[in-house]
Amino acid sequence: MTRPLSIAIFELRRYLADRGELAFGIALPIALFALMYGTFSGEPTFNGTTHIVDLDGGAVTGEILQRLDAIDGLTVELLSDDDATAKLDRSAILTAVVFPAGFSEAVVAGEPAKVVTRQRGNGGNAGQIAVSIVRGVTDAVASEAAARVAVAGALDGAVAQGRIDATLAGLLSASQERPLVTVTSRQLGGDGGDDFVDRLMPGILVMFLTFAVTLGSQSMVEDRRLGTLERLLTTRLTLGQMFIGKFLAGLFRAMFQALVLLSLGFAALQVAGASEYFQVIAYCLLIAGAVAAIGLAIGSLATSRDQAVWAGVVITMFMTVFGGTFFPVDGALDVLSRFTLNRYAIDALDSIISGGESLPSQWLEATVMVGVALVALAIARWGFRATSR
């Protein structure tokens, strides 16, 4: 067993020594995922700046500014009254919200308070949205302050103000954590609201794992071209050991890729927990086995590097395009997808990562990988004998 293992480790070292392969197998998927993740997810739906003139300086205005500052995608820019006027005059900004002096005092006292919005023209779309957000936050903070005043008034000094404040703060906090009404967004089209990113990570991972088919197919052909295959056959290495070694080499390469990409994905995006991580790794082992065996089969049948590369690329592209890598497939494509590793692999990984399912429940997808690996290994062995005659 040490000789096949030596071959596998040796091939892994060759892979790691090849910066081009590393860039393609590791750096490219990371860059691609980052690009797609940045494009389709993680970004707030609104990016804008609200310009605030704080003439009040009180606690309520402070609270409003704090909450505005915490809103994702909204930048709060504080301006003096003169600056705001000057900028509005020359259209450097299109809206400004002014909290007049005495605003906080009035709110706390339960008296009518005003916030003034200044705008140039209609304020622009982004400006109107920003003002709406400020208005919403101001209403919420003012309502909370009004509630405090109302409760204190109703109790008429029977309860200490500190206790009223603490109780109200607790209630408000609880209502924020478990609001009575929740609003969720669902993307139209696709499979009815599945998170795009949940499918994106398995899709890209499987796509790059299947690209290893082409790499694996070249290993055997390259050994033939270099003359090292013939040389190996004059050593004490048996044909069976060589096949196991080459298979393990493909498996190791794919698993190295999977480990790096998954570790980064799980650590950076925290898509799921440790249990899911290890289950996904275990399933990736099966994918890597199937991919390594297909690569070996192509390499054994191909008589030239070009043949191996073309066969690898055609098979990989077919599986990537029709396997639902970037979008869920249905209709006629669904039938085609059943002839791809990607379909089963992505379904299994997606189910484990975001579906809350366990690895044993993916027995069909696991069986497909093992079956493909065994058939491809048998073809590889037969093909090697046929092409070596």
């Binding site: 060759r14 270099l226 040389r231 190996l232 050593t235 004490r236």
Partner: protein, 274 residues
């Protein structure tokens, strides 16, 4: 002055057993090829070739391009199964006991069978492991062999940065990793400078003197004349002559005047083969 046949003075080492497993037979032959034949489609590449290689001799296999030399070596080294005939190396059949034969042979193929993106040392250690050496043994034998071919100071350098002569020497060093009793050298000096060629000659002679048997193919007649104890000439897949360089030259004239190239051209003709 003709070279003396080494079989007349076999090197005896303590514990050596003549005629035992892995040893020359009663005639001193370490390799016995009998009736070898191989066809590729309609082309008869090797036709009924029989010869013996005596233990601890350098045996030259010469012939024009397409004569069947490389096909013969591939059959001798178990890579290609013969259509007919068999070969015994150290008493073991290459067709029935290839695993046994692999323990006895080292093959330096005509092409540079190396991994260019890895260091010379990594190449040697890898093939050493494949030859059955442990990790530590492979490392120490690799160091010995790199010293033997004069590349100790370049052990860690990538082979792709080496000159043609250095690559040829690495190619030979790999073949020696198994510590073979029989070494196949298929045109080991193609396309290299005189210094590297001379270094390879000295290495081969030293290996022979240390007890190794060598099968050597080349297109350079002066090289064969200088190195080989006996020479076989192939043409058209058949063995057409086999003798010492001296006797081959004597067959057409005064050995002191005749060159091996003249013998070769007389035997194989002057028509182009490629």
């Amino acid at each position: 002055m003709p070279k003396e046949h080494p079989a007349k003075h076999p090197v005896q080492h303590p514990g050596d057993r003549l005629n035992g497993p892995n040893e020359p037979n009663e005639n001193g032959a370490y390799l016995v090829a009998s009736g070898l034949a191989k066809s590729f489609g309609d082309v008869l590449a090797v036709d009924d070739v029989s010869f013996e290689i005596i233990g601890q001799e350098i045996f030259g296999l010469l012939g024009p391009n397409g004569a069947g030399k490389t096909t013969t070596i591939r059959m001798l080294s178990t890579v290609l199964p013969p259509d007919a005939g068999d070969v015994a190396i150290g008493g073991h059949s290459v067709t029935r006991e290839p695993d046994r034969v692999h323990r006895l042979i080292g093959v330096c193929p005509q092409e540079l069978a190396l991994y260019p993106e890895l260091s010379a040392n990594d190449n040697l250690v890898f093939f050493g492991r494949m030859a059955g050496l442990s990790g530590s043994d492979a490392k120490s034998v690799a160091a010995e062999n790199l010293a033997l071919v004069g590349l100790s100071d370049r052990a860690k350098d990538k082979v792709e940065k080496f000159s043609g002569g250095m690559k040829r020497r690495v190619n030979i060093a790999i073949a020696l990793m198994a510590r073979p009793k029989l070494l196949f050298l298929d045109e080991p000096t193609v396309g290299i400078d005189p210094q590297s060629r001379n270094h390879i000659f000295e290495t081969v002679l030293r290996l022979r003197d240390e007890g190794m048997t060598v099968l050597y193919t080349t297109h350079y007649m002066e090289e064969a004349d200088r190195l080989c104890d006996r020479i076989a000439v192939m043409d058209g897949g058949r063995l057409i002559a086999i003798d010492t360089p001296h006797n081959l030259k004597a067959s057409i004239g005064d050995p002191a005047e005749v060159t091996l190239e003249e013998v070769f051209l007389k035997l194989t003709g002057r028509s182009l083969r490629d």
